[in-house]
Structures are given as structure tokens and as C-alpha cells.
């Protein structure tokens, strides 16, 4: 069985906790979308339930019945808690069911594990129904929450969990995984990794859906064009973005990752998620802008996302955002 891609440091930390018998009752895995938070939680669940784990490397054996059933989401003691069909948010009923099951002894293994992805998708009522279990679960219960937006979680929830912050993977890690695990050829893998910005989950989905790759390539190109564009062009682009909410949201995500790289490059950091030509461009922009201006726009992007989430007028939001976008001359060789 294959282990998950990357996150070595977090995996070592979790393996140490198992080896020393100091498994916490609740974990909160945080980090950007699609970098493997839920995958890491499942990997940790496998490690806990595995009959013959390797605690020095943190690898479950992958062969015992626990490992196999968890891989096929058929382990009776490992529950992936998801919103009821047709619902976007986790319901109070679903969480009450978790609280009820948590009070029962495990069926097969030593632990009863509940994985709750996207913990921010819980209403305050739902969180409150979970708090008692989260604070003082019966022995043997481990709750694993993941969130791409931990800052929106209730403090009462965060304070009850041990936090496991995760970083986007490096482009090299993504490239290697795509070649070794998914059998892509080196050039295609490299190209995809450049677009993925360290998000392995996105890369794997995009592998099967070329249109996702194309959209992303365009969005990246659009960002670069817009930095050199006039106000008129920016206003027109804002109108186009506002017309298609879902695409615009994905564009915002990508741009946030891009400006993360620009900001890091401006500070002289070398651990960027971009590779190759985009990386050179990010470094060029970073140098041209300096850390303060790069960071200011990164914050503007985050603010725009919050504004859209709270039902601000999309067109106004994008106009403000794009007018805030620093003006830079096009890179040599670009239009």
C-alpha cells in the first residue's frame, strides 16, 4: 500500500505520539484546500488501527485487515463524517450520531476514530452538539478534524484540539508523486505540478480532467496579463469574473497561492510552490514590488474571498480587487 504524499514532518510527529502512547483525543489538521489533510487523517487512522505498524517511520503495514478495510472505507471503527446527501453543511443529527457512537466500545480495533473534513462547514449549533464529545470523549475515541479556514472556526472548537498545521507540498514532491504513483511521464507531470501549486489533490483531479488544467493555465496567464493591464481592461475583466461565480472563486484561490509565492520571493524565501518559468516570474514580480506591496495585495485577495463568502456584490468586489492589483510592466518576452 502507498503512503500519502509528503507531510513527512507531521507524519513523524503523529508516529511519535503513537509510539509513546500519547495520542491526543482530538486533532485539527489545517492547511490549504486539496493538499491532503483528510488523506493524512486517514493515514493516521490506519497507523492507529494497524496490527503491525512501523512506528519508526510511521507507516502502517498496509496488509492487515484493518489497513485494507480503512483503505476501502469499510472499517467499522473508522468513520468519515460527511454531510447528509444533498446537504452542504454537516447537520446536527449527523453530529449527534457521532456523539452516540463515540460512547460505544470499538468493534474491531483499539480505537474509535471519527474524521470530520472541512470542520468550518459546521453551524455553531452543530459545533455545540459536538463540543462535549470533543472535550471529554470516552477512552479510545480520537476525533480528527480538518479545515482549510481554521480562522473561521469557533475558538471553543480549536482549543479542544491538538493542531497539526500542514504546508502545501513542493512542486518537486508533486512531480515525483505524479510520476511514481500515477505513472505520468516526466514532462507532463512537471507541467501539472507547476499549475498545482503544491496541491496534490488538485493535481490528481486535474490529471483526469484536462479542462481543469486549461482553466488554471488561463487564470494564471490572466493574472500576469492583468498586472500589466490598464484600468479599463481591469474593469472589464472584473465584470467577466463576476459573471461566473464558481470559476472566479477558483481563480481567487489560485491567485492567492500565486501571490503567496510572490510575497515569499519578495522576502527572499526559496521554498516556493511554483517551478520553472512561473517561478522565475514570481521572483521577478517579488523583486519589483518588495515584500510590503506583495503582502498588501495578498491580504486584498483574502479580503475579497471573505467579502464574496459574506455575499458582497461580486462585481464591486472584483473591481476593487483588480484596481488594488499592483501595476507591473510585462515580463520581457511576454505581451
Amino acid at each position: 500500500m502507498q503512503t500519502i504524499v509528503g507531510h513527512m514532518e507531521a507524519r513523524r510527529r503523529l508516529a511519535r505520539a503513537v509510539a509513546s502512547g500519547q495520542v491526543s483525543h482530538a486533532y485539527l489538521f489545517t492547511g490549504p484546500e486539496s493538499i491532503g489533510k483528510t488523506a493524512l487523517a486517514l493515514d493516521f487512522a490506519r497507523l492507529l488501527e494497524c496490527e503491525r505498524p512501523d512506528l519508526t517511520t510511521g507507516d502502517p503495514c498496509g496488509e492487515c485487515s484493518s489497513c485494507r478495510t480503512i483503505a476501502h472505507s469499510n472499517h467499522p471503527d473508522v468513520t468519515l463524517v460527511e454531510a447528509a446527501e444533498g446537504k452542504r453543511l454537516l447537520g446536527v443529527d449527523t453530529v449527534r450520531e457521532v456523539a452516540h457512537l463515540a460512547n460505544l466500545t470499538p468493534s474491531a480495533g483499539r480505537w474509535r476514530i471519527f474524521i470530520i473534513p472541512a470542520a468550518e462547514a459546521m453551524t455553531p449549533n452543530t459545533v455545540n452538539a459536538l463540543l462535549k464529545t470533543l472535550e471529554e470523549p470516552p477512552p479510545g475515541v480520537v476525533l480528527m478534524l480538518t479545515s482549510a479556514e481554521p480562522e473561521t472556526l469557533l475558538p471553543t472548537l480549536i482549543s479542544r484540539c491538538q493542531s497539526v498545521p500542514l504546508q502545501p507540498l513542493s512542486a518537486a514532491e508533486v512531480t515525483r508523486a505524479l510520476i511514481e504513483r500515477w505513472g505520468m511521464d516526466a514532462t507532463a507531470a512537471h507541467e501539472l505540478a507547476v499549475l498545482a501549486n503544491g496541491r496534490i489533490g488538485w493535481a490528481v483531479r486535474a490529471m483526469e480532467h484536462p479542462e481543469m488544467r486549461e482553466e488554471r493555465r488561463q487564470q494564471l496567464a490572466q493574472m500576469l496579463t492583468l498586472t500589466a493591464a490598464s484600468r479599463d481592461e481591469r474593469i472589464r475583466a472584473a465584470a467577466a469574473l463576476a459573471a461566473d461565480g464558481d470559476t472566479a472563486r477558483r481563480a481567487l484561490e489560485l491567485w492567492t497561492l500565486w501571490w503567496r509565492d510572490v510575497t515569499l520571493a519578495a522576502c527572499g524565501a526559496t521554498h516556493l510552490t511554483s517551478e520553472g518559468a512561473p517561478r522565475a516570474e514570481a521572483e521577478r514580480q517579488g523583486r519589483a514590488l518588495g515584500p510590503q506591496r506583495a503582502e498588501a495585495f495578498l491580504r486584498a485577495l483574502l479580503a475579497a474571498k471573505v467579502a464574496l463568502d459574506t455575499n458582497a456584490n461580486p462585481r464591486l468586489t472584483f473591481e476593487v480587487l483588480l484596481l488594488d492589483l499592483p501595476h507591473l510592466a510585462a515580463a520581457p518576452g511576454r505581451r
Binding site: 485494507r68 476501502h72 469499510n74 470516552p138
Partner: protein
């Protein structure tokens, strides 16, 4: 797998195991039934995250094999067949089961059976507790209703099963009442406590055969309890509730200042009448115990009185043989009707001390020492 069995047998087996099929689950395998040959029979198993049920259906097995099939579809299809022979044949490479009745045939695609959670057997566990199916069903009926139904305090959603000194004790409580049922065990059994979800016992009562021996076993890791009936080899396994049940013996009053013996039917009827009026006013019913005269001419009387705010009130009297002095006490009438509904002796005893102290209801006769029901009184605000 290749076998023939009777539609009636298969339908009966499926109706037993379907009690453990989970309706909403995130684990795909749990919506399936495991079908496996076992000697000259086929074993059906189903499990949700809480309980698992398995039973044997006699069959003419021509070829061994194991598979899983979607529970709903398979059960509904078998039920739609006429009572005659049913052939089951598995195509292992596609995991699909061909089900042939007299005139209908179906191919049902299943899932890899190796991932079906295993249901443990009684063999190899510590000495089983031997019970009689009829008495076990009675014990369940007389205790589970007293358990709490909400999860606010998990230990109260369970029934304590305690083996101690050659006795099996079932105890359930919801912090306002307590039901304790004991039975003497015929053989040797290791002492120990487990907390069984009341829901589990409810399901068990539904699938227990009318008569015969039932073995109760706790798995070696003490995570699960297993009930095994000899008839049809029905087995039910359940996860337990983690936690410590409170010391219930301390709650049972040691003596009684007032002891009334009543006709069970009359008392049941009187409580029902009072509940009509009590249900709109917090189920309050006032019991007035009148000891009568000591001359043997004036009998004791218990008056049940309930008032429905702005609607009216009702009083019902029940003759009683009262030992001790008279008093007035207020109970939640639901707690009275509940217990009177599960006692089938002709007479019951009501034991009281003070209006502020718990009362006890007991059957009179063989069951007198086996069953105790404690109710906390209510305070009157009027």
C-alpha cells in the same frame, strides 16, 4: 457458492438479520448482508456500527462460497418470491449472486466479503451465562423502558448486566427511576459488569426465539457482548457503552414505613385514568394512601388524583391492603403506567416511606424478590 433453500426459511432468516442493517451509513459494506455457506446451511449476517446479527438457514449446499449482497434489494426480492425452492449461485469473478425462484430470476451484484466486519462466536470466550429465552425477554421488557433515550448522559442509555454471586442482574435508570431485575443462574459464571445499550436489548427481544437456551458471553477484549440462541443459531453481538454505571443498590430504599398491596389490574386502570388528566400538567398524579381502620372492617384505599389545568380533574380509588400509616405522595404518572405495563402478576406492592423519598413498586408472588422498581417522587408546587 451453489445452494438450494426454501423461500420461507430464507425470508425468515433475512427478516431476523435485517434488524441490524443500517439505514444510513457511510460504510458501503454495512448496507449489505453477508451470505456464507456453513456445512449444510447458509449463514446470513448483517451489522451496523452498533449491533450485528447472524443466523443460519437450512440449505442444500452443493458448492461452498461467501459473498455480500445489498440488503434491501435481496430481502425485498426474496420476499416477492412464492414459497418454494430458491437457488443461489455465485459467479465469483464478478461477485454477483444469481437468485432463482420458481418463475423469477435475478442477478445481484455484491461486494468483496473479506471486508465484512466479523461477528464473533461464543466459542473460546469465558464461561457463558446460560439463560432461558422466555425469561430473558421478560427481563428485557421489565428494564429497558427505564433507560434514558437521549445521549446527554451516555451510561443511562444502557442496561447494566451484572453477573454476581450466581445471579444475573439487569438494571436500568434514567435518574428519575430505576428498574432492577434479577435471575438465578443455573451454572457457574464469572462475575463482571457490562453496560449494554438499551436499543440493543430492544432488538434482541424482537429476534429471540419463543423458547430455548440463550447464551450470553462477553468477548475477551470486553468490547462486545454476544447473545447466542440455540434455535436457528441466531447470534446478536453488540458494542458496549463505555463508562461506569452508578451504584444503584444505594438508591433502593431499605425498608418501608407504608406497604400497600393492590390488585394490579385495578391499579393499572386507575393510573391510566389519571394519566388522561395528568398529561397536560407535567404528568403529576397525587397518590393518597389511606390505611383504613385496624378492625378489619374498613379496608385501606389508595386515591389517585390528577388535575388538568382549567379543564377538570379526576379521582380514582383502588382498594388496598395497607400496612403502616397513611400518606400523600406525588409521582410522574408515566413512570407508574410504564411499570404496571410490564408486570403481569395479579397483585403488586407499593412501598413508601416519606412524600420526599423514593417509592418502590414490586410484583407479588414468584417475582417478588426478582423485580424492584424505584420511582423518585415529585414536589408539589401547589
Amino acid at each position: 457458492m451453489k445452494l438450494t433453500c426454501k423461500q420461507q426459511d430464507l425470508a425468515k432468516g433475512l427478516s431476523i438479520v435485517s434488524h441490524a442493517v443500517s439505514t444510513r451509513t457511510t460504510l458501503p459494506i454495512l448496507s449489505h448482508i453477508l451470505v456464507a455457506t456453513e456445512g449444510d446451511a447458509v449463514r446470513l449476517s448483517a451489522t451496523n456500527l452498533e449491533i450485528g446479527i447472524t443466523c443460519r438457514v437450512p440449505a442444500n449446499v452443493k458448492e461452498e462460497g461467501t459473498t455480500t449482497v445489498p440488503a434491501r434489494l435481496f430481502t425485498d426480492f426474496v420476499n416477492s418470491l412464492p414459497p418454494a425452492g430458491v437457488d443461489l449461485a455465485l459467479q465469483p469473478e464478478s461477485q454477483s449472486l444469481k437468485v432463482s425462484g420458481q418463475r423469477s430470476q435475478a442477478t445481484i451484484r455484491g461486494m468483496d466479503p473479506s471486508e465484512f466486519p466479523s461477528i464473533p462466536a461464543a466459542e473460546g470466550s469465558e464461561t457463558p451465562v446460560i439463560l432461558d429465552a422466555k425469561e430473558l425477554r421478560e427481563m428485557i421488557a421489565q428494564t429497558t423502558f427505564a433507560a434514558a433515550t437521549d445521549d446527554a448522559r451516555p451510561v443511562f442509555t444502557g442496561v447494566l448486566a451484572r453477573v454476581h454471586g450466581g445471579e444475573l442482574i439487569f438494571a436500568a435508570a434514567d435518574s428519575f427511576r430505576l428498574a432492577v431485575r434479577r435471575t438465578a443462574l443455573p451454572g457457574e459464571a464469572a462475575d463482571g459488569d457490562v453496560l449494554i445499550p438499551a436499543r440493543t436489548l430492544g432488538e434482541l427481544a424482537k429476534i429471540l426465539p419463543a423458547e430455548g437456551v440463550v447464551r450470553m458471553v462477553v468477548t475477551p477484549n470486553r468490547n462486545q457482548v454476544l447473545f447466542e440462541a440455540e434455535v436457528d443459531d441466531v447470534r446478536l453481538v453488540s458494542n458496549l457503552i463505555s463508562g461506569q454505571f452508578p451504584n444503584f443498590e444505594a438508591i433502593v430504599p431499605k425498608g418501608a414505613a407504608t406497604r400497600a398491596t393492590l390488585d394490579a389490574t385495578q391499579f393499572r386502570q386507575a393510573a391510566k385514568t389519571a394519566s388522561l388528566f395528568a398529561r397536560d400538567s407535567a404528568n403529576i398524579v397525587k397518590l393518597k394512601v389511606d390505611a383504613g381502620e385496624n378492625d378489619g372492617m374498613t379496608p385501606g384505599i389508595i386515591t389517585l388524583q390528577a388535575t388538568a389545568e382549567e379543564v377538570g380533574d379526576a379521582t380514582t380509588t383502588v382498594d388496598a391492603a395497607v400496612d403502616g400509616k397513611g400518606l400523600e405522595i406525588i409521582f410522574n404518572v408515566k413512570y407508574l403506567t410504564d411499570v404496571l405495563g410490564v408486570i403481569d402478576t395479579p397483585e403488586v406492592a407499593l412501598e413508601l416511606n416519606l412524600p420526599s423519598q423514593p417509592g418502590v413498586v414490586k410484583p407479588i408472588g414468584d417475582l417478588h424478590d426478582k423485580y424492584t422498581y424505584v420511582i423518585m417522587p415529585m414536589h408539589s408546587t401547589r
